[in-house]
């Protein structure tokens, strides 16, 4: 039953769903946004999420996590998407944790992974430098100086960057891509919170000649490790997109069965029926593509790139269509802030851009397939 959830995974989904519905629903994101909350997420919710073992699902048991796989990460991310929960799980528990596990030294792993799994520390990857995701041209320089490193450059769109205590900074060293563990409070690190359309967290990070000891460099932090950690992140973002698509589609279907115009339920109109049916098929395709990618990440993580590119591309386009149709089919009401569709639309837009939009994923697929 490779593409269907097993019993434990179904239980995980159900418990995550009920926890997030009770503790991190859309209303909470609204509150955080309207109150200009300085952290951008609810601390007690995050602690409770971690206490249930959710924050550490991708962290190995030896490092204090639950040591589950990509499928379980996907299960949680879908529910996060359905509830628009603002939690630093994707940045810290998924990508940063995976990168530390793949490339970090034993000391780095021991220092950070247990705290990440317990939700006590937030770590995040600082990667992008321009408006689009471009892993090929990292410009931020890392220069070696007799037993230490100096980092200089700027990072943008760093998820949860302003609340992270650890930044994993991707840099260009003489021998290629390198990753550095940079404490948020290191001298020369300037973090500016960038309030984004989706009311989730991001930051711009300036590294002004930051001096780091030699052991700050992740020993196995090369291009391959970076891509592998990103691939888990991309699949997780795809899962959040799928959760968003499912949620807005369900709500829109309900509306088609309630709203009357011209003396009829609008769901009786074939023009809308066919659009709903087309969207349904698109979402099912996205679900299957995602299941395939998560399975590949668990079975053969070094060879999962194609499946991940396919999943993020498909979940991205399906969710983009779903949020647009949800607004259109709700008419004027869909445009209003009190209905949640705008919030879903904004989050989907951000997730599209995160770690490569659908176009980037398609280009990557073409490159992987040699054309």
């Amino acid at each position: 039953m490779a593409l269907l959830l097993n019993e434990e995974q179904t239980m995980l989904r159900d418990s995550a769903r009920s926890f997030l519905a009770d503790n991190a629903p859309v209303a909470q994101l609204r509150q955080l946004r309207d109150g200009h909350d300085p952290a951008g997420f609810a601390g007690p919710t995050w602690s409770a999420f971690a206490e249930l073992g959710f924050a550490g699902v991708a962290v190995a048991e030896a490092h204090g996590g639950t040591g589950l796989g990509a499928v379980e990460v996907g299960v949680l991310m879908e529910q996060i998407g359905r509830h628009l929960s603002a939690l630093p799980f994707l940045s810290s528990g998924v990508v940063a944790a995976r990168l530390l596990q793949l490339a970090g030294s034993p000391a780095q792993q021991a220092a950070w992974l247990p705290r990440i799994a317990r939700g006590e520390a937030i770590a995040t990857l600082a990667l992008d430098e321009g408006p689009k995701h471009r892993t090929d041209d990292i410009a931020l320089r890392a220069q070696a100086h007799s037993g230490s490193w100096m980092l200089a450059g700027t990072k943008t769109f760093v998820p949860d960057g302003h609340v992270a205590s650890l930044l994993l900074v991707a840099a260009r060293a003489d021998d290629g891509v390198a990753i550095f563990a940079v404490p948020r409070d290191a001298a020369g690190v300037q973090v500016e919170r960038t309030v984004m359309a989706d009311a989730h967290n991001a930051a711009r990070v300036l590294l002004l000649d930051v001096q780091l000891p030699d052991e700050a460099r992740l020993p196995a932090g090369n291009e391959a490790a970076l891509q592998q950690a990103l691939d888990l992140g991309r699949a997780a973002a795809a899962a959040e997109l799928l959760g968003i698509a499912d949620e807005v589609f369900e709500r829109t279907l309900d509306y088609l069965k309630q709203r009357k115009q011209f003396g009829k339920l609008i769901g009786e109109f074939q023009a809308l029926q066919h659009r709903a049916a087309t969207l349904y098929v698109d979402i099912e395709l996205a679900r299957a593509a995602l299941a395939k990618a998560l399975q590949a990440l668990d079975a053969t993580p070094q060879r999962a790139a194609e499946a991940v590119a396919i999943a993020k591309a498909k979940c991205g386009t399906a969710a983009t269509l779903a949020v647009q149709e949800s607004v259109q089919m709700h008419g004027g009401m869909g445009m209003t802030d009190p209905l949640d569709f705008g919030l879903f639309m904004k989050r989907a837009r951000v997730l599209q851009e995160l770690w490569g939009d659908s176009g980037w994923q398609m280009d990557r697929l073409a490159r992987l397939r040699g054309y």
Partner: protein, 397 residues
């Protein structure tokens, strides 16, 4: 022994049997429709290897692995059948038999046929001895299939059939037909229909091939003029034919949907790069086409995953009964996109209609043939109606 050990044992035996029994010619990739083996009384085998392969697979019941042994099947579990399919794929074994009997009639007979009908017809389907065609559409009953008018008059011990069918695939090559007929003209349109089986060699049956835009004639008009059909050839209840027809259609839709999955053939991007060349960075030297192909390949891979997921759901009895409409709709549209992209990738070379260079216009004819995918077995619009009503439960009609 655990289930896993059992299935792995079965897999090993199966592989050994296939290696010993599948002739090497039958492990070459299919070149085109001319390599399909349809069996039947008029079968013309391309080679001894093709005949032998059908005979061996038919004897073992592996042309229909999950059908019961009593009816000529292999009696395999779903897991065993999946293992057989995987092993055939990995060894490159061609399917031994293409058959509407397997894909469409068989499942309907297993569900609605009586014991005598199952014993009579299923083993001949399994062994490829009888080739079937489908008598559904009529000139005035296309998307509105239930308005069909072919009459079967009750004459005591037999029916007398009069009327006309259209788009009967390969009627001119088929031995028997499964046919929808009206047995009660007073009843409401869905309830007066019955499901009949009869021999195409019966006096009064005539076929006329229809030439399509591809220049080929896979479809026929089929005429019935006082055709005598014995009553034991009625499947299900008199007037209960629509239930049989609908059930059979779900299988037809899965079959047509499967054309969206061409995992055996060369990937489109590689094929286009071969045709058009690459730029200095090794990318297909036509950026717009490259983007369209990449977008297509994402959808194609997602569709393949969807087919796999549907198979798993079906085995776990979690699949929605109308999901075949989703597969049919998307698979058909996907194949049309594929054929358009192939034509773009081939450029003017793909436009050649005759001659050896183009294998008599194979690409152009396949492209044109694909336009029927979203019409046959229920149009894309009909599938979207089914999804809207049965899966999404939207109101109206």
């Amino acid at each position: 022994m655990s289930d896993t050990a059992t299935i792995e044992g079965f897999r090993a035996e199966t592989r050994a049997w296939l290696e010993a029994n599948c002739p090497s010619e039958m492990r070459q990739p299919l070149r085109g429709e001319e390599d399909y083996c349809w069996g039947g009384r008029k079968a013309q085998f391309q080679s001894d290897a093709q005949r032998l392969w059908l005979q061996r697979m038919g004897e073992r019941g592996w042309t229909v692995p999950t059908w019961p042994r009593d009816y000529g099947g292999g009696g395999l579990s779903a897991e065993e059948a999946a293992a057989l399919q995987q092993e055939m794929r990995s060894l490159g074994c061609r399917p031994a038999l293409w058959s509407f009997g397997i894909w469409m009639l068989g499942p309907a007979l297993l569900k609605f046929g009586n014991e005598e009908q199952k014993r009579e017809h299923l083993p001949k389907i399994a062994r490829g001895e009888i080739r079937w065609c489908q008598g559904y559409s009529e000139p005035n009953a296309g998307s509105d299939l239930a308005s069909l008018a072919t009459r079967a008059e009750d004459r005591g011990d037999h029916y007398l059939v009069n009327g006309q069918k259209i788009w009967t695939s390969y009627a001119d090559l088929a031995d028997w037909i499964f046919c929808l007929v009206r047995t009660d003209s007073a009843a409401k349109k869905h309830t007066g229909i019955s499901f009949l089986l009869f021999d195409m060699a019966t006096p009064g049956v005539n076929t006329r091939p229809i030439t399509l835009i591809s220049g080929k004639s896979p479809f026929c008009e089929t005429f019935f003029d006082d055709v005598r059909v014995e009553k034991h050839n009625l499947v299900g209840q008199p007037g209960g034919g629509w239930d049989v027809a609908k059930y059979l259609l779900t299988h037809e839709r899965e079959m047509i949907g499967a054309i969206g999955d061409r995992s055996q053939s060369q990937p489109l991007g590689a094929m286009a790069a071969q045709s058009l060349g690459r730029d200095a960075l090794g990318r297909l030297d036509d950026p717009m086409l490259r983007a369209r192909i990449a977008e297509f390949e994402v959808d194609e891979a997602a569709f393949r995953a969807l087919m796999q997921r549907f198979g798993e759901q079906a085995r776990a009895r979690q699949a929605h009964g109308a999901f075949s409409s989703a597969l049919k709709y998307y698979g058909a549209e996907l194949n049309k996109r594929r054929q358009e992209l192939i034509m773009s990738a081939l450029g003017s070379a793909g436009l050649e209609w005759e001659g050896a260079a183009s294998n008599d216009g194979e690409a152009a004819r396949d492209w044109l043939r694909s336009k029927a995918n979203s019409i046959e077995g229920g149009t894309s619009e009909v599938q979207l109606n089914v999804i809207a009503k049965r899966i999404l439960e939207l109101p109206g009609a």
